[in-house]
């Protein structure tokens, strides 16, 4: 079976960002100062645990970012050299993993793990019309006598899942013990030190986090082979599938939109701070003007304009997902163009301080040109601000996406996103009886993602900006024991 890789705009940018991240990781390994600071981040148990959760989500987003289109089977009687036609649907690797969830579409609502539909339908039985709950076409379809078998089957699958989750978690514990056995004098001692939290990095917290993820994921994987773990929505789509697909949208918005602010914020901030005078005045005027418009309104105005433009140039896109992708891409750019004021202000302030310091003065005295001073001496020294703002902005943007999508200026409705799920959940919650599972699934995924991002961001901020206000509570040693 042949296929054609599809490179959506956001895929390329995500991939580029991954490469930049790897390059940065290499720098961290090489540079002793940076390594020490990052070690500080990871020595914080909360931040380390949050990083693991974030990595899991990032993995899902990455797998979902490899897109391709399958070739259609050649038409009968087509010439051998005829061009291969491709399916109009763009799939990702995640769709392959979740092929069953994608294929098993029911006719309507069904509860999590259900084997029958959510609402009764009339059927004719023995010449009489009765209203019964219909069996689902796929969920629990392997059960011959569901009423008797269902509970046992679900329990058995959940138990298998839990067991395999435990095995994976234990393997991870073992692997980390093996990795640190040198410095701790043998595997057994290493295990004891992990359990007693006496390791250099807080491995216990990290492994506990990983263990919880395994214990949650195990049963889900085991159950999703035959059931809809989080039920199905109005049109019978698997809610679990939607939640996983939404993770990528959240990541795209969270990362791309902050990255889009960086060129403006860094360039303008450094220029304003370094040159002062009229350059500073103009740049200050620019960002005051931008920030004087309420953000949602500004974004809404821009998105509306883009929408009208796209509607009138619909011939530009080959597939629906390309169109949706361009829309989310432009949304990120808009978020970037409208959102650089805060970071720019910070960088300007920092540059004003830096330019008076001796090393900058010395460089100027040696006749180094301004552009070079800025790129060599000032930009590297404001990077911690950039990093902190990027990490802090990530979770805010994920929350913002939900609001924007609700307002109607967010991502394309055809694209799975948390905002879209909440929007649907809102109408489902008012049905009778309540359809709660979409809501709960969106809530669980979103809170896990945003909470992890927030906790990680706090760790990064504490490590990189020791002068900043600390938001973390510290117990006195006595209170902890």
């Amino acid at each position: 079976m042949s296929f054609k890789p599809v490179f959506l705009g956001t895929d390329i940018v995500l991939c580029a960002m991954l490469l930049v991240l790897l390059a940065y990781a290499w720098r961290v390994v090489v540079d002793a100062n940076l390594r020490a600071t990052w070690e500080k981040v990871f020595r914080d148990p909360t931040a380390f645990g949050a990083a693991i959760v974030l990595t899991m989500f990032a993995g899902v987003a990455a797998v979902d970012s490899v897109h391709f289109r399958r070739a259609l089977p050649a038409a009968a009687g087509a010439a051998a050299g005829a061009a291969v036609a491709y399916e109009p649907r763009t799939e990702s690797l995640l769709d392959l993993v979740l092929a069953r969830q994608l294929a098993t579409r029911e006719v309507g609502y069904s509860r999590p793990l259900a084997y029958e539909g959510f609402s009764k339908i009339p059927v004719v039985r023995d010449g009489e019309s009765v209203r019964i709950f219909p069996r689902l076409a796929f969920g629990g379809a392997h059960l011959t006598d569901p009423e008797a078998q269902w509970a046992g089957d679900v329990e058995m699958r959940a138990a298998i899942g839990l067991a395999s989750g435990t095995v994976v978690a234990l393997l991870a514990v073992l692997a980390s013990a093996l990795a640190i056995r040198r410095s701790h004098g043998g595997v057994a001692a290493a295990l004891r030190d992990i359990a007693g939290d006496r390791t250099h990095l807080p491995l216990r917290a990290a492994l506990l986090t990983f263990g919880v993820i395994c214990l949650l994921a195990g049963p889900v994987v085991a159950l999703m082979q035959e059931y809809h773990v989080f039920g199905t929505d109005r049109t019978g789509n698997d809610v679990f599938y939607q939640s996983l697909k939404s993770v990528r949208t959240a990541f795209v918005i969270g990362t791309l939109a902050t990255v889009a602010t960086l060129p403006f914020a860094i360039a303008f901030g450094v220029l304003a701070g370094y040159f002062r005078g009229w350059v500073d005045e103009v740049i200050q005027y620019l960002y005051t003007t931008l920030s004087s418009v309420p953000n949602v309104l500004l974004i809404a105005a821009c998105v509306l304009m883009v929408q009208v433009y796209l509607d009138q140039h619909s011939e530009m896109f080959e597939t629906g997902s390309e169109r949706a992708d361009v829309k989310i891409f432009l949304l990120c750019i808009i978020l970037g163009v409208t959102g650089w004021a805060t970071l720019c202000r910070l960088i300007r302030g920092e540059t004003l301080k830096l330019r008076e310091l001796e090393f900058v003065q010395a460089a100027a005295a040696f006749g180094v040109r301004p552009l070079r001073i800025m790129s060599r001496h000032i930009v590297p020294n404001v990077m911690h601000l950039v990093l902190i703002t990027t990490v802090l902005g990530f979770s805010d943007l994920i929350l913002y996406e939900a609001v924007l999508t609700y307002v109607g200026v967010g991502v394309d409705p055809s694209m799975n996103s948390f905002g879209g799920m909440i929007n649907l959940a809102r109408s489902q919650m008012s049905e009778n009886p309540v359809v709660w599972w979409s809501f709960v699934a969106a809530f669980a995924f979103m809170v896990a993602l945003v909470l992890a991002a927030n906790l990680f961001a706090d760790g990064v901020r504490d490590a990189f900006d020791p002068r900043a206000r600390s938001f973390r509570p510290r117990l006195r040693r006595a209170a902890m024991s």
């Binding site: 005027y285 620019l286 005051t288 003007t289 920030s291 004087s292 418009v293 309420p294 949602v296 309104l297 500004l298 809404a300 105005a301 821009c302 509306l304 304009m305 883009v306 929408q307 009208v308 433009y309 009138q312 979770s395 929350l399 939900a402 609001v403 609700y406 307002v407 109607g408 200026v409 948390f418 905002g419 909440i422 959940a425 809102r426 919650m429 008012s430 309540v434 809501f439 809530f443 979103m446 809170v447 945003v450 909470l451 927030n454 906790l455 706090d458 206000r469 600390s470 938001f471 973390r472 509570p473 510290r474 117990l475 006195r476 209170a479």
Partner: protein, 327 residues
């Protein structure tokens, strides 16, 4: 002081010109008036005559920036840019683009009061609630109450405000039937409808605000005057509530003031979820109906309010801290 005010207002006017130019470019250059006309008239076959009529009705039939046909000053003044800008600066918002063609100024005047009914209590109660929660945490700092309080804050700020609204509507209206699920009436009965949105929007922002305030209070507590106060033998409560609270007012004003523009514009999401016919709901209706005249007016109004509220904040600084002199 007067000197300062005049300068601030002049700079504000300069910014408004910038905002106006920017929105004009966005709304008239990215999509030409012809596109707008086609969109608003709707339908597949739109004749040029219809478009011209639509444009003439709204005064969009002039050139955008420069009228070559006219002579003298009219070259600049007889353009869409000039006409729209002048009317905006006079706060005459004109009529909306959509079919119903409502009078925007009139709508804003009537809806503003509804918005204020929701937003003013939220604004005031927010400062009170966040300050008291933060002070509570600071009072019990380095203890379990503080620790779990901050954990609660982080959890609360990780939850989208949409979740608060949906859960709140579900429990208080559907399960307990305490308050109506949404809607609005004028007069005193409005309290019934406003109670839940006010409560929920307090809750939705409590996490982030209280955490920020807590950090600000802790910063103040490390200062010398606090040590002096303690050395005098003042009880901790007096130190906190009399000395620290007063000195932390400046950062509180800054952070609370950032929400001031939204007080007038209303909370977009809360108003539309609860069916409260304020300015926020007006904007959302305009966005979903693709009514650009309304969006443009609201962007301008938002900028005006932003500038006004920043002047108010500066004045509040002088009140909170006599050392601050506006010059």
């Amino acid at each position: 002081m007067l000197n300062y005010l005049v300068r601030r207002v002049a700079y504000g006017a300069l910014i408004l010109i910038g905002v106006n130019l920017f929105t004009f470019f966005l709304f008239f250059n990215v999509n030409t008036p012809d596109d707008m006309a086609r969109l608003n008239i709707g339908g597949k076959r739109v004749t040029q005559a219809q478009i011209d009529k639509w444009k003439a009705e709204r005064g969009y039939d002039r050139p955008l920036y420069w009228n070559e046909k006219k002579s003298g000053v009219a070259k600049a003044t007889d353009t869409v840019l000039w006409q729209r800008s002048i009317s905006l600066f006079a706060l005459d918002f004109g009529r909306s683009d959509s079919g119903r063609s409502v009078d925007i100024g009139h709508e804003i005047k009537t809806r503003m009061w509804v918005s204020l009914q929701l937003a003013v209590p939220v604004f005031i109660l927010q400062v009170i609630a966040s300050t008291s929660f933060a002070l509570l945490l600071v009072f019990f700092r380095h203890s379990r109450i503080d620790f779990w309080g901050v954990v609660l804050c982080v959890l609360m700020l990780s939850i989208s405000s949409l979740f608060y609204i949906i859960v709140g509507q579900f429990f208080f209206s559907r399960m307990l039937h305490l308050v109506p699920i949404s809607g609005y009436v004028g007069g005193l009965d409005a309290i019934k409808f406003l109670l839940m949105p006010i409560g929920l929007s307090l809750l939705a922002r409590l996490g982030s605000e209280a955490r920020l305030y807590r950090a600000m209070f802790l910063e103040e507590i490390g200062k010398d005057y606090v040590r002096t106060a303690r050395a005098k033998g003042l009880p901790e409560a007096v130190v906190l509530f009399r000395h620290v609270l007063k000195n932390a007012l400046i950062p509180i004003i800054t952070s609370a003031g950032a929400y001031l523009p939204y007080v007038f514009l209303g909370s977009l999401v809360f108003e539309s979820f609860f069916g409260i016919p304020g300015l926020g709901a007006f904007v959302i209706e305009a966005i979903t109906g693709q009514d650009f005249a309304i969006v443009r007016s609201m962007v301008f109004l938002g900028a005006v309010l932003y500038i006004a509220s920043y002047i108010v904040i500066d004045l509040a600084y002088t009140w909170a801290d006599p050392r601050v002199r506006l010059a």
